[in-house]
Every structure is written in C-alpha cells, then in structure tokens.
Symmetry: C2
Subunit: 205 residues, 2 copies
C-alpha cells in the first residue's frame, strides 16, 4: 500500500479539486527538492514552503518524509511497511525473507514498472542517483543492517543491495536467460543463500 | 587491448585519411546494424554492404564480429582475449578468477567509464538492451557456462551475470557505501564465494 491516495477529511467536505491541486503542488515541490538536495537534506518544511502551504498540511496529507518520497517518486512500496517482515524473520532465514519480499514487489507488473523506472533514472542521472541512494540507504539498508549478524552491518547491507539490484537488472531489464524465465522459487533457492552469507558470514579479506 | 587501432598495411602506404574514413564508415554501419538487429542477427556481410566496402576489408580491419562490436561500441575489452583466464582457472577458484578479471576492467577509470556508458544505454534503451544482452551472452556467458559444474550451465552463468551487474551498479554507479569504498580485495572476499556457488553449488528449488 502506498501513501498516494489516503482518504482525508478535506475530501469528504467536497473540496476535492482544491485538495488535489494542493496535493499536486506538494508532490511537485517534493520532486524538485528531492532531486536538487537528495533525500537526506530535503525537509518537509522546505517542501511546504516551495508549495506555499503549511508544513502541518504536508504531514496531514503524507505523514512522514518517507511516505512523501514514496508518493512523489511513485516508489512501489512504503519500505517501513514491508521491512518489518525482514526485521521479524528468523535469523537463519534472513536471506530468504529479503528475496521473497523484493520478489513480491517485482513479480507484480505495476510495482515492477515503478521500480524499474526509478532505477533507470538513477543509473542515468547523477542527481537521481544521489536521491535514490540516500532513500534506499535511509529507508531500507539501515533496517537490513540492524538484522545483520557480526561486525560492519552497513557493509553487509550494501552487499545485499548489490545482489538485489543485479537481480533486478539481469532478470527484468536486460532479461538475461535462463534467469529471466526462472520461477520465483528458483530465484529464492539461488539468491537467498547469497544474501544470508552477506548478512551473517565472512565478507572481508 | 581492444581492436580499435590495429596497424594495417593501408596505413603504411600513406593512405591514412581514406583509411580512417573507411574505418569510420564501417564502425558507423556496425553501430546501426547492431542496434537495429541485435548482436546475433547482425552480420559482417550486411555491415560491409551498408558501409559500401567489401566484407574482406571489414575482416582485414577488425578480424571477427566480436572485435568489430568491441571497436564500434567501445566495449572495454575483447572478451575472448581475457576469458581464457577464467577457462584456465582452478575449478575451486572460478568465482575468485571472475571477480578479479572484472575488477581489472572496472578499477581502471577509462575502461570503467566505457563499461558504465554501455550499461547505462542498455538499462534505458530497449534496443541497446537486446544488443548488450546478446553480446554478453555470446561472448562472455557462453564461456562462463563452459566452466560451470553440474547441470544447467547457462542458468548458472546468468546468475553470475546478476551479481556482476549488481556489483557494477551498486559500487560504481549508485556508489552505495561502504561497498563503494571497500578495497578490491574485500570485494573479492565477499563476492567470489557467491559466484563460486552459482557455478558449482545448488541453484534450483
């Protein structure tokens, strides 16, 4: 579930068009600020100022900066809503849980298309790369790092990111066979042990 | 070493400008044909026809279709010239050999830039994706598949491709830390066992 279409009191009072105009102004200001400043440095206060609204209205519409990013950039899921699956997983099934979670996003056409659009922009545009890197680090990798065993949890999480990104590129963008046609269960069997070792095994020379 | 600047008899006879004009016409025709038809379906005969030269001249200048692709697309290395390292490696060091070979390309600024430019175009452009996928499959993955142990060598090679592509995206394009700053030796320690398992371990459900 994304934060794109929450029901708000304003909707029910019939002020739909003004409401949606305000939302669009906020999303447009958010896209500009995230792109120019990156995810970390952009603030709800600054975005509200650009949109000419009170910061409280941005919070009312979108809740958190994470959810505002999700709505503005059409990120396919709210990471904090799905990452609990990973944080709650058995220690010896961390890798499997992560692969299954990401496949849950990528095996559905709409959310896959959103993911890949953002990945394409990050690969081709320096500012988009900064924005996506900071968001993924803040909203996803920092949580994955908390479940990593042993030292250097951030390094482990960044290795997980490398295999997940490569899976997305190879399977869905370049469509390299036979990986592109393999079943989701086969992908889990192949990739889960990789992520498990990155999170819990030896990863330095 | 690439096939971009071979010394030819024509050069030594002083016909440099006509020679380089002909070469450029061949490379331009090659870029068009590879992009339109993909790597597999493009032929030296067809490229020669488009360039208005005899196919023998294309062979004389560039040798093989692989080397013509390398020259036309500025691919950073001639795969057949480095892949022998992998084919000749000890069975229990296949993963390590592949990571070291690819890092040999990516840790040098010029060849990294060429790789990433091609990867960017493949990620954003459907025709470039087809072209790069076919070339990588034909020139690299088919060789990696020959060293894979057990059944389904092509599936194993495509899994290797997923981790290698993801390493390139995460470390060099998105610059996700701490992976982006890790030493090459640390990357080898982390990633080599992944590739080794993809080539020799269990990879199906």
């Amino acid at each position: 579930m994304t934060a794109r279409e929450p029901t708000t009191p304003l909707r029910r009072t019939g002020r739909r068009s003004g409401d949606s105009g305000t939302r669009e102004a906020i999303l447009e200001a958010a896209r500009t600020r995230f792109a120019e400043l990156g995810y970390d440095a952009a603030t709800i206060r600054g975005i509200a100022a650009d949109a000419g609204v009170d910061p409280a209205l941005v919070h009312h519409f979108y809740g958190t900066k994470e959810k505002l990013f999700v709505a503005a950039m059409r990120f396919p899921v709210v990471p904090s809503e799905v990452i609990g699956l990973v944080a709650g997983a058995d220690r010896d099934r961390l890798g499997e849980t992560i692969v299954r979670t990401i496949l849950g996003v990528w095996e559905r056409e709409e959310t896959r298309a959103q993911s890949l659009a953002l990945l394409r922009s990050a690969v081709t545009n320096e500012r988009a790369a900064t924005m996506v890197r900071e968001f993924v680090t803040s909203a996803i990798l920092n949580v994955i790092a908390t479940v990593a065993q042993g030292d250097e949890p951030e390094y482990r999480a960044s290795l997980v990111a490398s295999q997940i990104l490569g899976l997305g590129i190879a399977r869905y963008v370049l469509a390299i066979e036979p990986l592109a046609s393999a079943s989701a269960e086969d992908v889990v069997a192949a990739v889960a042990p990789t992520l498990q070792r990155y999170l819990t095994g030896a990863v330095r020379a």
